[in-house]
């Protein structure tokens, strides 16, 4: 196929990616946007298969079949509760593919001529970012899947080790740029970057995962863009840059929603310290009221407006279907029900929205924090299901320096006339501090696992 036609086809693919992402930013056009991006990908792949450099198709076909089957199987099988892990894994695969492509390109070129400076720098970048993305994502996957390392792991002297490995990686990158025909330098760089990826994510705890996943998402795009510089392929550069930008936007949104800097999330070791027991005694000190499902049912029965606040506890207990049944029951009795979604509720951006959509809850009931917050004062019952830190009024106190969530935007749950918290115990959330909401005069605790709690509540409501 003549070069200009290939280039034009690539331009078309790049345009489809931009239109696709634009579509993905609005609920009504999102499905079409995704299809457009997929079409762009199909065009890019088909055109590439006509590349004159390709002399054999067996290996390509084998790779496409293996990858395609595995990818399709993953996509069809993964439950919505497993979505954070799935996204982490896919980020990683994109990253490692970029590192491998850059490595292969280096080997190919240096068989003949000396690689150019641009190629050497870009190869180093692709190897570095690609390997960090892969191993970082793998650690995130392991944490999210609950296989191991769920708590932040803080090695002694971890900042020093991290700096050393980072400097080593950069030195190896410098070596590769100085001597691009040296393959050993490339693989040594990839090895050092792999270690860097592991070290970066191991100290980060579960509730900070929305930031980490967004950042790794951005990295997977940047790795692809670097590969584009290696291969001098503008479509790769465009697509990679778009994804890099998208990931960065989400990263910054997630950090803001926790009122913490990206540096603090990555290096702060947040959530590793245990709550001081004395402090929780001061806060709760016999003022916590435990309710029965029947008491809560009576509260709900008399309510005109109920706002449900879901958190990670709902995801863990897979309570979304029970919650849907509760919503239907309440609505059939004329109660207005809405959901208040905190931006970092769950383990990835938008986690609660996906779970509730899976349970067939219309998305116009899911309200963002800024939209729903003013309405808590007109809410009869706020029903908190498995959420903790995002409802903690302590966050409003910005003068206390020992307060880890000072200034974090929260859902104004405590302003509702009555608050019901479905939670297994009084154990602290990720921030490791007690939540005065649980001891408030208008709060009733329903000490149960999210699913059990909601199921009991439905049973009790049907009795009323």
């Amino acid at each position: 196929m003549p070069a200009p036609i290939v280039a034009l086809a690539y331009l078309l693919a790049a345009a489809l990616f931009i239109l696709g992402l634009k579509g993905l930013a609005h609920p009504r056009t999102a499905v079409r946007g995704n299809l457009m991006a997929a079409l762009g990908m199909l065009i890019a792949v088909v055109v590439t298969l006509f590349d004159r450099q390709i002399v054999s198709f067996e290996v390509i076909l084998a790779g496409l079949v293996v990858g395609g089957l595995f990818g399709a199987l993953l996509a069809v099988r993964v439950p919505m509760t497993g979505m954070p892990q799935m996204v982490a894994l896919l980020n990683g695969f994109g990253g490692i593919a970029s590192a491998l492509v850059a490595g292969a390109a280096l080997l190919e070129v240096s068989g003949g001529v000396m690689p150019s400076l641009q190629m050497a720098v870009a190869t180093a970048a692709a190897g570095l970012v690609g390997a960090v993305t892969f191993w970082g994502s793998l650690v995130a996957f392991i944490k999210l899947q609950g296989l191991a390392l769920e708590k932040p792991v803080l090695l002694p002297g971890r900042h020093g080790i991290l700096v050393m490995v980072a400097v080593l990686s950069l030195a190896l990158a410098g070596w590769l740029v100085a001597d691009p025909s040296n393959h050993l330098a490339y693989w040594a760089l990839v090895a050092a970057a792999s270690l860097l990826g592991l070290l970066l994510v191991i100290p980060i705890g579960g509730a900070d995962m929305p930031v980490v996943i967004s950042l790794l998402n951005s990295y997977s795009g940047l790795a692809a863009a670097a590969t584009g510089f290696v291969l001098q392929n503008t479509m790769l550069i465009i697509a990679g840059a778009l994804v890099g930008a998208a990931g960065l936007i989400l990263t910054s949104l997630m950090s803001k929603a926790m009122n913490r800097s990206l540096t603090n999330v990555l290096f702060g070791g947040f959530g590793a310290q245990a709550a001081a027991p004395a402090a929780s005694g001061d806060v709760y000190g016999g003022r916590v009221k435990s309710g029965t499902p029947e008491e809560v049912a009576m509260l709900l029965e008399g309510a005109r407006r109920v706002v449900i606040v879901p958190g990670y506890g709902m995801a863990v207990a897979q309570a979304q279907y029970a919650v849907r049944d509760l919503v239907h029951l309440l609505e059939s009795r004329g109660v207005e029900v809405e959901f208040a979604i905190h931006p970092v509720a769950g383990r990835m951006p938008g986690h609660m929205n996906v779970l509730l959509a899976e349970a067939d809850i219309p998305y116009d009931k899911l309200k963002e924090m800024d939209v729903i917050n003013p309405s808590f004062q007109q809410t009869d019952v706020a029903l908190v299901i498995g959420a903790n830190d995002v409802t903690n009024p302590v966050a409003r106190n910005t003068t206390d320096s020992g307060n880890p969530i000072a200034g974090m935007p929260i859902l104004n749950v405590d302003q509702a006339r009555a608050v019901v918290v479905v939670k297994r115990s009084l154990s602290p959330g990720f921030a490791g501090i007690p939540n005065p909401l649980f001891a408030a005069d208008n709060t009733l605790m329903l000490f149960r696992d999210a699913k059990q709690g909601i199921t009991d509540l439905i049973a009790a409501l049907k009795q009323v």
Partner: protein, 93 residues
């Protein structure tokens, strides 16, 4: 050098386009946006195809095969799971 400048120009402009296009995405769509963007980052597949099919050396072919397989999981898995998620989102009838 000239090629590098052109490539850099394209990169920087594309980053700006990315920020503009995605800046106002509602939280509702954060997950599908992420998985959809992630599928697009599988575009590295294009480079992988050439590496796997050029048969320069055995090593590049092996690397190419691995890269094609990983990138294809990324692309196919990413677009499919995004579609699956999006088809669950619906308004009140």
């Amino acid at each position: 050098m000239e090629e590098l400048i052109v490539a850099l120009t394209v990169f920087v402009l594309a980053v700006f386009v990315g920020f503009e296009v995605i800046a106002k995405v509602p939280p509702l769509l954060h997950t599908p946006l992420m998985s959809g963007a992630n599928a697009i980052s599988g575009i590295t597949l294009v480079g992988a195809l050439v590496a796997a099919g050029a048969q320069a050396t055995l090593l590049t072919t092996v690397l190419g095969f691995l890269a094609v397989a990983f990138a294809t999981v990324n692309v196919v898995g990413g677009f499919l799971v995004t579609h699956r998620m999006l088809s669950m989102f619906r308004r009140k009838h």
